[in-house]
Subunit: 391 residues, 3 copies
């Protein structure tokens, strides 16, 4: 009953965000330098990915474009201040010393959240997206702390290789989303409504291209200045590989090109190269991209419908295929690519991430289910003012 009262939830959520954000410690600008300025540019490139990239990629739904874009705005606006508050409060480990680094880490959390939201897109009320952000970010940070920063003392500091976040950003977000939809999918739900049209296809390709273009900045955001170019070229090679593989794959598996495969699976190389973008050589990056693009296309064209029938869930944007399996592939690839890697730690990091995503995701899904009661799925008119002649 309480959960169904959207006004109170909305107000309460916002007050919470407000309260928390206003507590962010004011960091001095001391210690910033010319090096931060070059990081700043990549931080803005990531911002373009979050809003324009993810936003328009998720606007592929025929009748839900306005809502998808609004949700993107809300998810990002709730996640960034929340991450920066919790980080500066030092709740999970010590606070990040450098302002710009903290901001980039907050953007990473925002990316992971947007991936997660893609799984249940179109089936949440607008204020639920804010609630989702508030629930997701702390769990994301907990996993980040455990896997990368020796939180709880489980994994040695720096022994998990994941520069561009294949594991802790992409796979985590996708599996958290999978957990949610496993918990909340109504068995009678018509997946048939998840459809695009010619205009929404082009908007979706816009989002995809913006993600492709700025992905090198995402992976190279925090690497040392003299490694930025090398890392960026690796990411481009991986994306070229996955794009070509996606074309081949979609024609081979469907006889014709699915524009949804092109818009999504072309990016799988970026997802998979994340873990090893600093260590792979260019040919290896290209091959990882080809493998990831193939896997992702196979996921969209073949696996998804089978998995959805078997496990009774609906993954609106297919984030498991784009971010889930390729993210895990990338994390595992590091074992073969990076010299001197501690394979045990790498697999432990992957395993912990899977658990930390699926289980809390399932719980959050149950909360979402309890709050729901949306009349029509994948339809702007539920919450947005829509002139009748334009529906």
């Amino acid at each position: 009953m309480f959960f169904r009262n959207n006004r109170w939830i909305t107000v309460a959520s916002l007050v919470l965000v407000l309260f928390m954000a206003t507590s962010v410690r004011c960091l001095a600008a001391d210690g910033s330098s010319i090096e931060d300025v070059q990081k700043y540019d990549r931080a803005i490139q990531i911002m373009a990915m979050l809003l324009v990239g993810f936003g328009f990629l998720m606007a592929f739904l025929r009748k839900y474009g306005r809502s998808a874009l609004t949700a993107t705005f809300l998810l990002v606006s709730a996640a960034l201040p929340l991450y920066m508050l919790l980080d500066s409060a030092g709740i999970f480990g010590s606070a990040t010393p450098l302002e710009i680094d903290r901001f980039v880490l907050a953007e990473f959390a925002g990316a992971s959240l947007l991936i997660c939201a893609g799984a249940c897109l179109g089936r949440l009320k607008m204020y639920h997206y804010i609630v989702l952000a508030l629930l997701f970010v702390p769990v994301y940070m907990l996993n980040e702390w455990i896997v990368l920063e020796n939180g709880l003392g489980l994994i040695k500091l720096g022994s998990v290789v994941d520069t561009g976040g294949s594991i802790v950003i992409h796979a985590f977000g996708a599996l958290f989303g999978l957990g949610i939809v496993l918990a909340m999918t109504n068995k009678k739900e018509p997946a048939a409504l998840i459809e695009s049209d010619y205009t929404s296809d082009r908007f979706s390709m816009l989002g995809s291209m913006v993600l492709w273009v700025f992905w090198p900045g995402f992976c190279a955001a925090l690497v040392a200045p003299d490694q930025v170019a090398y890392t960026a070229v690796n990411v481009v090679f991986a994306l070229c590989g996955s794009t070509l593989a996606t074309y081949l794959g979609t024609v081979a598996l469907r006889r014709k090109i699915s524009i949804s495969d092109i818009a999504n699976a072309s990016l799988a190389g970026g997802v998979a190269i994340g873990a090893t973008c600093l260590f792979a050589n260019h040919p290896t990056a290209f091959i990882i991209g080809i493998l990831a693009g193939t896997l992702s296309t196979f996921g969209f064209a073949v696996m998804q419908s089978r998995l959805e029938r078997t496990f009774k869930f609906i993954d609106t944007c297919g984030v498991t295929n784009l971010h889930g399996w390729p993210g895990l592939l990338g994390g595992i690839a590091a074992v073969f690519v990076v010299r001197g890697i501690d394979a045990g730690s790498q697999f432990a990091g992957i395993g912990i991430t899977i658990l930390m995503a699926l289980v809390p995701g399932f719980v959050v899904g149950r909360i979402m289910l309890a709050m729901s009661g949306i009349r029509k799925h994948y339809d702007d008119s539920v919450e947005i003012i829509v002139a009748t002649e334009n529906v």
Copy 2:
């Protein structure tokens, strides 16, 4: 009669621009350094805001998208060379010493001009936009000189706090536009034609998101390298605040979400934080954003229709709500936020800007009225070749 002859006006305007632009002094590249390169990147980010950001935000009109984008091209292409000529000629104070700084200042003028044009969008002939640029830029520069550079000796140099241009860029542009539409609005004009559809809504959200993403670069364009990151994060906090507040506000005031509110008022935090982006701490920036988003949403949902009926004007894009009131709010907020600020100078700067915008704006509006005689408002087909089946 003369004013109605569009060929002559067009040719004359262009010759004027040509003449002036060809007189721009050739600045040596001396004195440029690695620091200019980092400024260059933000200059390009601002360029993306001018064309893609403002252009597509103004393309929300159902039948006037092509014209809005063409007008954006023309406004920017006339304003940038004109500003750089007048600045390098030292007409208002001494010439800006550094090439890249001058370019960024020219972009600021372009942004203010685009804001101004938003007020009368859809009611000018295409060549009027060029005339508008030629009339607007000198007045803008005069105000900039008086308020920020001790022109006429009215305000002490550096005593007005307006790093990101809440006052001299946003409020000035919006109030100049208000002056224009107060002078030129025909009493029988049907505001009902100002409507969007599903596709134009999504293009408009694209423009909004591009503005959101690059706003930190706008505010931090000319700050010292070691303050760029801090300033940028402040702007992001303000934008997060206004985005969340806009969602709450639009639902509270309209019961459903107006996508136009989301696309516009979400940006009010960027407008309002301009004045204090270098001085506020993050929680304060967030609060300024919330206040600005609330004020702007209230402007769109409640105030605009009342003001328009009372004062007989039509503000096509609602620039008073997005740039006008939030810009003034930001300028006033500086009095409370910035330590050691000279409140008298700050208010004097705001007051002078209001006068310098409204009065010349009104005069320009009369000129526009004298030149007009457009058959249909908000309609591409007046001046653009439109295939009949696509109308």
Copy 3:
């Protein structure tokens, strides 16, 4: 017969790309420095031009938008690794020493390829675009080597002035495309199908604006840090000039505005200033822009239909008007603008480029003709899954 078997061609092409790409030598990241990071930012700006800019500019076709965007993805994904392989193998001259420089040069090749593909857009099967990339890039590199790097000892090193690629990128790509369509155009082909609608017009303006915004980064990509700002401002002046001239020209020649002229010819200033962007002063840059915009608009409005009737070809995107004639204009302008230029070498460079583009282009066109047999032109449904209600 063999050429008509698309599966084999597709697989073979991809295997070839794979083989070559996997042979790219792994460059050490040694020698990279803070200077490379500032180059990296411009490299990403060029990437945005390649995918979002060229992609959406080519998406102006009413029914071929999805295909144009997919083709853009494939062209770029095949060209970049191929260039980097051939360069690092030192096939044409010695390998580029710096990683980021090589990447930017590969992007230049990608830009030239996209220009070339614009001429025959909508008349190739999807895998033909990959074949085109594989055939185009080596010829492009051969010309680059001969004209700019004293390949074959024909032209003295550094005596051809072409910083931003008016000659070797724009004119080369356009004339190669012209060669192709001279060879492959079917005499009965209905050019009438090359039409846009309101939504595709707006997507096309998006591509145009993205190109405009990042063009300064394209021209300044490899100049010394202290010349980046000056070069960038020159490019902006040229673009402002061509944009204003295009408006004047389209109204003068057509009585109303053609949005296709605006989207294309506005960019001609960027094409033409390429050769002299480092040497011209700002007024000269503005004048070069005006001349280029006028020439390009005249090309679209008057010359194209006459040339197409006379020489029996169809240039889908009008790349000859945007990149061909303005590119040659820019190359010739250098003779008058750059002090101490060796006019003989400059004209030799232009002449060689024309030959190296037209003749191999014609041969490639014959190959494309032999492989073709496409049922419907300019239509997504030939190869892309299109829901019937959305056609």
